[in-house]
């Protein structure tokens, strides 16, 4: 392939690859627009019946919630459990008993409760009715049912059996052992009513409003039936033998999108009673989710559903079934009690110990803080003593420095007096001389002020400053000493430099100390020039490096390690504290002081100072 055909080929390939990609992107966009939501619905009367009843509700949700499509998935009780376990659906619409079981086992949450179609006060609850034929004189109440035949709808039906079971049990009748016959009719429930009428069965149960519906449809006469143990519930219009339980809930799964669940809840709650969906579903809209606690109580009592293995148990029940385990459990319980009390003791003791050690810790913190403050003060104290000592050693230098302005003042003044005495004083001349007097007194005052500042005992205080300025200022102290020793001081300063945050007096002390050491180191030199260089540079790490380099004999290798230690000195006079104090001052500024030899000729002592970060705000004393 030549180059152009090659390019063409590549372009075609790219185009070919792009086609399915763009298609997929488009499809994805469509999918993004419409999200499918699946609602598992209990098909207790077959799939078709369920679909015809609930499809309109799915349509209603689709109509009211944009960008979502809703699909009803009709399922049996067993299938319902499976799809919820596997998270194949987003919502569950099932009977009350099933809901409570799924809620207990899989954490599904009700978002709305179904309302019965008729406009009644208690339209979102239902119960079951237990009935026999009105002409049966031998059956007047529930307890008369012992030994009789009984029909329910489904064994695991909530309204179709379990509600009645609870009442039977409360009246001492175990439906599985105390009936001559227990039958389950299945749907339609009508069969149970007809079986009772026909005399096929002595008594039956199904959910409330079934009899009324059948009567309304003209299938039966209510009067033909006797309602066993009828109950009165405020606002509940139907014949009922049991407690009332909340209607079917509409529930979301744990993993269902919160936003979607909220939209569905709002949509269901705002459904009108006469909405086509409600009419098709034969219900009267939706209400805020009810308390399903009574259902739990029922299950617990019957030891079914989520409570199948625990239930409410009597001691004899328990002992009969789990005698050995009970003993073991008791032993374990006693051990737990003992352990718990012992733990209590331990916990109390440990708590006491902990609060004691906590107090100890706080005490230690206080002690440590105190120690740190003490250390700072001690360092400042030592530095101060050292400064005094330094000033003492430099006294003759200062005397000389002070002598200069003082001599000048004396000479100017006497010269004036002599001229005046001779009567040939020129006022202009005198004024000029007197101005010199004033200037020299100021000069003397500044020297004294500088010495005072240096020896004054002050709280350590940090301010931002230019290290070059500090160096130049410090040299005023030492210049006369350097002159006397015939040492020349050269400045090799990088200018400008970023500011450093320092205790000026302490850093002056470090510089002074290093310069004095260097001058002294060179005092033995007779042949080579005595030159001392002070160099400042900004390092790569953003520190300022200050070096004092001399042309003396350098530092003997054996001294390099110990020279920074306190009380180590090569001088006949002095405390040997200079370098050690200098190092501690530099350390406290976050820098480092090192000493070495400079290219084999003379010594170099350097220290670093960190550059101030650019932040606004007051300089705080440390």
């Amino acid at each position: 392939m030549n180059k152009s055909t090659q390019t063409h080929f590549v372009l075609c390939l790219v185009a070919l690859l792009l086609v399915p990609v763009t298609a997929a992107v488009a499809q994805q966009a469509d999918q993004h627009q419409i999200t499918r939501a699946r609602i598992a619905v209990l098909a207790f009367r077959g799939i078709e019946q369920a679909l015809s009843r609930w499809s309109a509700t799915a349509d209603y949700l689709e109509r009211t919630i944009p960008n979502y499509s809703f699909e009803m998935v009709p399922l049996s009780l067993e299938e319902m459990k499976k799809v919820v376990t596997e998270g194949q659906v987003d919502f569950v619409l099932t009977n009350t008993g099933n809901y409570v079981e799924l809620e207990a086992n899989f954490g599904i949450t009700r978002i709305a409760t179904l309302q019965t179609p008729v406009s009644v006060q208690a339209g979102n609850v239902f119960g079951a009715v237990i009935f026999s034929r009105a002409d049966r004189d031998d059956i007047k109440e529930i307890k008369d049912l012992a030994g009789k035949s009984f029909m329910a709808i489904k064994k695991n039906g909530f309204g179709g059996f379990q509600m009645a079971w609870r009442e039977l049990k409360n009246h001492g009748i175990d439906p599985f052992t105390d009936f001559s016959r227990l039958e389950f009719s299945g749907f339609p429930q009508d069969k149970a009513a007809f079986a009772v009428l026909n005399g096929d069965i002595d008594a039956a149960t199904f959910r409330t409003n079934t009899l009324e519906n059948m009567a309304n449809e003209g299938l039966i006469q209510i009067e033909d039936f006797r309602i066993l143990n009828p109950r009165q519930h405020p606002g509940f219009p139907y014949a009922v033998s049991t407690r009332l339980y909340p209607e079917w809930p509409f529930a979301r799964l744990k993993q269902t999108d919160q936003d979607l669940a909220q939209k569905v809840a709002i949509s269901l709650l705002s459904m009108a009673r006469n909405d086509p969906a409600a009419l098709a579903g034969r219900y009267g809209g939706w209400t805020v989710p009810l308390d399903y606690q009574p259902v739990h109580e029922l299950f617990r009592e019957l030891r079914i559903g989520p409570y199948e293995d625990i239930g409410e148990i009597t001691f004899s029940d328990l002992f009969g079934q789990y005698g050995l385990w009970l003993v073991l459990a008791l032993v374990v319980l006693i051990m737990i009690v003992i352990w718990a009390s012992w733990s209590g003791v331990l916990v109390t003791r440990r708590t006491r110990e902990l609060s004691a050690s906590n107090a100890e810790l706080e005490h230690q913190i206080v002690v440590r803080r105190k120690a740190e403050e003490d250390a700072i003060l001690r360092r400042a104290e030592l530095a101060h003593i050292h400064r005094l000592n330094t000033m003492g050693e430099m006294a003759s230098g200062f005397a000389h420095e002070l002598n200069q302005p003082l001599s000048a003042i004396a000479n100017f003044a006497k010269g004036c007096i002599r001229r005046i005495n001779k009567g040939r004083a020129e006022p202009a001349e005198l004024i000029s001389a007197l101005e010199q007097v004033a200037a020299q007194s100021t000069r003397a005052g500044e020297i004294i002020k500088r010495i005072r500042t240096f020896v004054r005992k002050e709280e350590p205080r940090r301010v931002r400053d230019d290290i070059n300025r500090v160096i130049r200022e410090t040299l005023k102290f030492i210049q006369s000493d350097a002159d006397r020793q015939n040492a020349r001081i050269e400045l090799d300063l990088t200018d400008p430099l970023p500011e450093v945050e320092i205790d000026v007096v302490q850093v002056e002390q470090v510089i002074l100390n290093l310069v004095r050491n260097a001058i002294e180191a060179m005092s033995g030199e007779t042949d080579s020039p005595r030159t001392l260089t002070i160099r400042t540079v900004e390092t790569d790490k953003g520190d300022i490096d200050i070096s004092v380099i001399d042309t003396g004999p350098g530092i003997p290798a054996r001294d390099l390690d110990i020279m920074l230690d306190p009380f180590v000195t090569s001088k006949e006079t002095g405390l040997g504290l200079g370098l050690s104090i200098s190092r501690s001052i530099v350390d406290s500024h976050g820098g480092r002081l090192v000493a070495g030899n400079f290219h084999g000729a003379g010594a170099i002592v350097s220290f670093t100072l960190p550059v101030v970060e650019i932040v606004d705000g007051e300089n705080e004393p440390i």
Binding site: S396, A399, H400, N403, Q404, P405, L406, S407, A408, I409, A410, N411, F412, K414, G415, R418, R419, K422, A433, Q436, A439, Q440, R443, S480, D483, R484, N486, R488
Partner: protein, 204 residues
């Protein structure tokens, strides 16, 4: 060699001190010249001027002591007053040994300095006059004939005319003629004056 007015040279690296000394000394009608370093002074001035030198002992480059040494080497016989700082007695002693006229400790009493300066200037002037006289004697002596020189040497050690005549193998009369010529050439008014001249030459 005939500049009459003595000059006080002041060398100090400290401007204020230097100018204040100038101001003080000039109040007693002495001429003052100031220099900020010894080097500057050495480059500018030469010997032959009456006066004195006031220098600070501590100065960069050339110190007061080094200046003294340099003057000695150059044979410049000028009185040097060294100004020392407090406690610099040892240095002052070294300066004196090196030939300094005197030293004065800073800060000084003005009268003491002025007295010192006066003494130094006078000493300088005397020394200078002496130098001039010697030079003149030397000049006159150079005009003497060998025989006259012989006669002068013998007169100055106190020999009599008779003794000189005997030693030189000449007549007493001839000795007297030589003697008169020596007195005349040396411009000596008396025998004593003549002897003094010879002695001053010997001392040199």
């Amino acid at each position: 060699m005939n500049q009459s007015e003595p000059v006080v040279y002041v060398i100090d690296d400290d401007d204020a001190v230097r100018e204040s000394i100038n101001w003080l000394i000039s109040s007693v009608d002495l001429e003052v010249q100031t220099f900020s370093s010894a080097g500057e002074f050495l480059d500018t001035c030469s010997s032959g001027q009456a006066g004195c030198l006031i220098t600070d002992i501590r100065m960069p480059e050339i110190s007061g002591l080094e200046l003294q040494d340099e003057l000695n080497r150059r044979g410049w016989d000028i009185p040097v007053i060294v100004i020392t700082g407090h406690g610099d007695v040892q240095t002052a002693v070294r300066a004196m040994k090196a030939g300094a006229f005197d030293f004065i400790e800073k800060p000084f009493n003005d009268q003491i300095l002025l007295d010192l300066v006066n003494r130094a200037v006078m000493a300088s002037a005397e020394s200078l006059i002496e130098q001039i006289e010697q030079a003149e004697v030397k000049e006159r002596m150079a005009t003497l004939t060998p025989r006259e020189k012989q006669v002068l040497d013998m007169i100055s050690i106190g020999d009599s005319n008779k003794n000189i005549a005997h030693q030189l193998g000449i007549s007493e009369k001839t000795v007297e003629v030589h003697r008169a010529r020596v007195m005349s050439k040396m411009q000596a008014k008396s025998l004593a004056a003549l002897v003094k001249m010879v002695l001053s030459m010997d001392a040199d």
